[in-house]
């Protein structure tokens, strides 16, 4: 057990640090540091442009998607080197937000299932941030129950071998600024639901795609409805075999939990800082035993997650494949962030309602956290689905009883009130 860098790790860290010192957009640092949850404070500049600029610069110097193979735009770095990079990149890492889905989920899925020529064509610009990708999975009929999806892919009648897509996706983050997406569809409604799906990737500028932003509960618009009307996809863009979409999607979802869950913020450092500055009826909040007791619980959850990540990393370095136990990250961080945000509001008393970053304590970060955290507990697998995963896949408990399991998809009832 050793926390210190090995000599190679230390040399790598020094190299990273020197490069970041020489190249990072230092003028953005203060804004990035004070950025809230769900939005970047960049003084009105376009976050996508700034994010793309930074990503491009990193890519040119070989610092993009470090763990990817070199031929696909990465560096072939070890898992530990990737963590060291993350530690050194610090607040600038927030500029990578728009690429998380592409780098964390679409990229790995492409890497596992796309044809070689496609990997060489699409992965390097994805790594370099030149092209942004989105994930077209959830539908009105099914988020948790992803396999309940209804968007159809049918062979084109012209004999070209192309596929014609009709249907609707929902909650698609970043669809409005994405260039490509991975799309899961139903190709055979006459077989049980997990068996009749097929995965593709597609150009988001294809004719027949209509994107409508959805206004979120927190007022922002990060996700969209995406409608498909006779959208054509060449068969060469199929990922995996026809009918194997479920299997392909599991690769994406496992990577999703890894990339969303690891290193997730709980808001504890921000809360601790607030408690050192704000008064309760018993004096400074951090001196109030009732406050301390709550803080301690959130503190140990935060460090516990951090070191769980380190343990996973050690296992990864030994060559172990990351498994369902990684579901723990988001399951702990999401609810903790929400509890922390609520408590921070409580500490601020009446003024806790103010969300204006220029006036509110901590630049309104807690108010932003309060309004964003419900989404964290839903996106990429709800708390309940993550508990199911831990119970079934880590602890080996029986799967939920599924009344729709062996029924052909087109015979499954669609309304709970029927």
């Amino acid at each position: 057990m050793n926390f210190d860098d090995t000599p190679q790790e230390a040399a790598f860290r020094a190299e990273v640090r020197a490069w970041i010192d020489a190249n990072a957009p230092t003028h953005l640092l203060e804004g990035l540091r004070s950025s809230g949850f769900g939005g970047l404070n960049l003084e009105g500049a376009d976050p996508i442009t700034l994010s793309k600029n930074w990503q491009k610069k990193k890519a040119e110097a070989g610092w993009a998607c470090l763990h990817w193979p070199k031929e696909y735009g990465g560096r072939g770095a070890t898992p530990i080197e990737r963590v060291i990079w993350g530690q050194e990149e610090g607040p600038y890492g927030a500029l990578g937000g728009v690429f998380i889905i592409g780098h964390g989920m679409c990229g790995p899925t492409m890497m596992a299932f796309a044809a070689e020529e496609h990997k060489r064509r699409y992965l390097p610009p994805l790594a370099a941030g030149e092209e942004i990708w989105c994930q077209l999975f959830s539908e009105p009929a099914g988020g948790s129950d992803l396999a309940g999806l209804r968007t159809r892919a049918e062979p084109a009648s012209d004999g070209s071998g192309d596929w014609i897509i009709n249907g609707q996706k929902i909650w698609t983050s970043g669809a409005h600024y994405s260039d490509y997406g991975i799309l899961i569809t139903r190709t055979d409604p006459t077989v049980p639901k997990h068996k009749g799906m097929t995965m593709f990737f597609l150009d988001m500028h294809s004719p027949g795609i209509e994107i409508r932003p959805i206004k979120q509960a927190n007022g922002q618009s990060g996700f969209n409805e995406v409608y498909f009307t006779d959208v054509r996809i060449p068969d060469g863009q199929r990922l995996g075999a026809v009918g194997d979409g479920w299997k392909v999607s599991l690769t994406t979802l496992m990577n999703e939990r890894l990339s969303i869950g690891s290193g997730m913020s709980t808001g504890f450092p921000e809360l601790f800082d607030l408690c050192c500055r704000i008064e309760t009826q018993n004096g400074l909040a951090v001196d109030d035993p009732a406050v301390r007791s709550k803080l301690a619980t959130w503190a140990v959850r935060t460090t516990g997650l951090k070191y769980t990540g380190f343990r996973a990393l050690s296992a990864l370095s030994r060559g172990e494949i990351p498994g369902p136990e990684n579901s723990i990250g988001k399951l702990v961080a999401g609810p903790t962030m929400q509890e922390i945000a609520m408590f921070a509001e409580d500490l601020q008393g009446q003024a806790g309602v103010i969300s204006d970053p220029d006036i509110a304590a901590a630049n309104g970060r807690f108010q932003a956290m309060l309004m964003r955290s419900p989404a964290t507990r839903v996106e990429g697998g709800t708390d309940e689905i993550l508990r199911n995963i831990i119970a079934e896949r880590v602890l080996g408990l029986p799967a939920d009883i599924r009344v729709d399991k062996d029924v052909p998809f087109n015979m499954i009832p669609t309304s709970g009130r029927a």
Partner: protein, 371 residues
């Protein structure tokens, strides 16, 4: 960076687990819980022969001279097995006090006997219900004589000597007392977990020798408690893991409404939450173990972190283990209550959860201010 125990340490854990599976099944724990013996003497002797009582004691004092990571893995196995032996008192506290403050003569007198299991040591601290503070320590020392009483002293009835926190004027000092000396009276107490013995000890002009410099008591206690907190955390982690396994196994076996109870989401989600607590506790424990074994400056906060997390996890897992077992969980015959008892015993060993929570935040604050 590497955040795992080494292969040798894992081997040591396996060896301890095998040994305990053989020598310390739950029938052995019950024998102590239900019978007149205060601890399992044969097991204690056996652990000594394996070298487990002197893991960190230097070889010149009869120990193995290994590090704290080794001791952590042993503590975890003892926690899993609910070993009914005075390990926490003798190894985690008495030994640590001697290593931290003992004179060479004191070390020579006691460490070899602690390592061989021929002597048992303990620490006598609390005097009444409530948090122990410098004010509540009323037992006084003058001219190397102690007067006063200590309560709920772990293994106080079986220990050969105790390290005693005593008032010396306005400060607190530590004394080493031979418990067979004149003026010492011990009374075994009924407790929530009779598999680990506790006693009241009365001192009437009992002879004592100073341990460490006068007035250094609080500093030494804090230092030793941090070390013991990490070790106890591993004992608790062992218990949390074992109760999670018991609950999982029962959930797979027990049928209700025509299906295993483990197929009900209420049970699955309860078990998932137990897994989360146990996992966070283990990760925090590793942080503590690293700090303890390397003497890192972060030890005070790492120890408090490990301690808070492990106490929460063991209590959480032990109580829900009973819930998963239903009515069976509340029978004397099932082992659930053994773990429930132990989890609640360990939760106040070395100071309560709320005190450790408070300590953790004080320490984080001190570090933030210093930074």
């Amino acid at each position: 960076m590497n955040f795992e125990f080494s292969d040798e340490q894992k081997q040591m854990a396996t060896q301890a687990r095998r040994y305990l599976a053989d020598k310390c099944p739950s029938t052995a724990v019950r024998a102590i819980l239900e019978g007149p013996e205060p601890y399992d003497k044969a097991l204690w002797k056996g652990l000594a022969e394996m070298g487990f009582l002197g893991v960190v004691i230097p070889e010149e004092y009869g120990g193995l001279g290994l590090g704290y990571l080794e001791l952590c893995v042993i503590a975890e196995e003892l926690g899993r097995a609910l070993a009914p032996v005075p390990f926490s008192s003798s190894v985690m506290l008495a030994t640590e006090f001697l290593l931290a403050a003992g004179s060479d003569a004191q070390k020579r007198a006691w460490l070899p006997r602690l390592a061989s299991g021929d002597a048992i040591g303990t620490f006598a601290y609390a005097e009444k219900a409530g948090a122990v503070t410098p004010k509540t320590i009323q037992l006084s020392a003058a001219n190397n004589r102690l007067n006063g009483a200590k309560t709920a002293v772990p293994d106080g009835d079986i220990a050969d000597f105790a390290v005693v926190a005593a008032r010396t004027g306005t400060s607190i000092s530590l004394y080493l007392v031979d418990l067979s000396a004149a003026g010492v009276t011990r009374t075994t107490l009924d407790t929530i977990d009779p598999s680990r013995s506790h006693a009241r000890i009365d001192f009437a002009d009992a002879a004592a020798e100073p341990l460490g410099a006068p007035g250094e008591g609080l500093r030494l206690i804090s230092e030793v408690f941090d070390r013991a907190a990490v070790l106890t955390a591993f004992e608790q982690i062992g218990g949390a893991d074992r109760t999670l396994e018991m609950a999982r196994d029962y959930a797979l076996e027990r049928m209700a409404f025509g299906r295993p109870i483990g197929s009900f989401q209420a049970i699955k989600h309860m078990l998932a939450d137990m897994y989360v607590s146990a996992t966070l506790a283990r990760s925090n424990g590793c942080y503590g173990a690293w700090a303890l074994s390397t003497g890192a400056a972060e030890l005070p906060e790492a120890a408090a972190t490990a301690r808070v997390s492990a106490t929460q996890a063991f209590q959480h897992c032990a109580k829900n283990n009973i819930q998963v077992h239903g009515g069976m969980g509340f029978t004397w015959a099932f082992d659930c209550h053994l773990f429930y008892r132990r989890s609640n015993l360990l939760s106040v060993n070395l100071g309560s959860l709320s005190q450790w929570e408070d300590t953790l935040i004080q320490r984080l604050r001190a570090r933030n201010t210093a930074a």
